[in-house]
C-alpha cells in the first residue's frame, strides 16, 4: 500500500513537472514570435554544377563592383608583374623563382 502511494505521488509530481514545462515552452514560443524580426529567406546564388562539390569563387568575381577601367588597369598591372617575375626566372632559372608567390592584388 505504501509502495502504491509512493508511486502515485511520483507520477502526480512528474505529470505536474511535465505540464509546467509544456506551458513554459508554449509561452516563450508565442511571445518570442512577436518580438523577433523576421529572418529573410536567403536564396542560393551559386548555380548547380555537375561533378563539383565545392565551387571556388575567383577573386575577379568578388571584385565585380570595380569599374571596368579599374579592372583593366588591374589586369595590366598583373601582367606587368608576372612578366617581371618571368624575366627573373628566365635570367636565372630555378624552381623557386618559377613558383615565387606574386604580390599582385589581382589574384590575392
Amino acid at each position: 500500500m505504501e509502495m502504491f502511494l509512493m508511486a502515485l505521488c511520483i507520477s502526480v509530481f512528474g505529470l505536474g513537472v511535465a505540464a509546467a514545462a509544456f506551458g513554459a515552452a508554449t509561452r516563450s514560443e508565442s511571445s518570442g514570435s512577436a518580438v523577433q524580426p523576421q529572418i529573410p529567406v536567403v536564396k542560393a546564388v551559386a548555380p548547380t554544377r555537375f561533378f563539383s562539390d565545392s565551387v571556388v569563387v575567383p577573386p575577379v568575381v568578388v571584385a565585380r563592383r570595380v569599374p571596368i577601367e579599374a579592372l583593366l588597369l588591374q589586369i595590366e598591372n598583373h601582367v606587368r608583374m608576372e612578366q617581371a617575375a618571368a624575366e627573373v626566372f628566365i635570367a636565372f632559372p630555378t624552381q623557386a623563382r618559377l613558383h615565387s608567390k606574386t604580390t599582385s592584388p589581382f589574384v590575392n
Binding site: 565585380r64 589586369i75 595590366e76 606587368r80 608576372e82 612578366q83 628566365i90
Partner: protein, 154 residues
Amino acid sequence: MNHELLNGLSSAEAERVLGLGTRLIVPSGTSLFQLGDSADRLFLTERGRIRLTLPIQVRGREEDVFVEERSPGQTVGWSALIPPYRFTLTATASLHEAEVIALPREALREYLAANPAAGYRIALNLAVVIGHRLQLFQTMWLREMQRTVEMRSV
C-alpha cells in the same frame, strides 16, 4: 639607335636594311595593326612605345587586354616573317606618338637572300626575339596554371 634585329651587322649593312623600310609616325592610341590582319611588314621601333594587346571577354564585353609593350630598338610584328603571315596581336601606340620603320617582307627576303651573311645574323636575332617571347609566355602560363591548381586543391 641599336635595333635588336640588326645586332652583329656592320653599320653599313644595318643602314642598307633600314633603307628598305619606310618611317611611319603612329599617333597615340592609333593601331599599327590589328589581330588577324595580313602581316606583310615587320616594324622596328624608333621612338615611343607600342602596346601589344589581345581581346578577352570582360563582363560580357570584348576588351583589349595588355600583353606586352615594345620599346625603341625592339621588333614588332615578326608574324610578317612566319607563316601564315597573320598578326596574332593588336599593336597600338601608347600614351605618346611612336615612330617605327616598316620593313616590307618581300624586300627584306630578297635582300637577305642576296646577302646570306647578313641574313644569317638577322635570322639568329629573330630567333632570339621569338625565343624570348616563348620563354616569357611559357613561364607566365605555368605560373597561372600553378595558381589554378592551388585554387582547385583547396
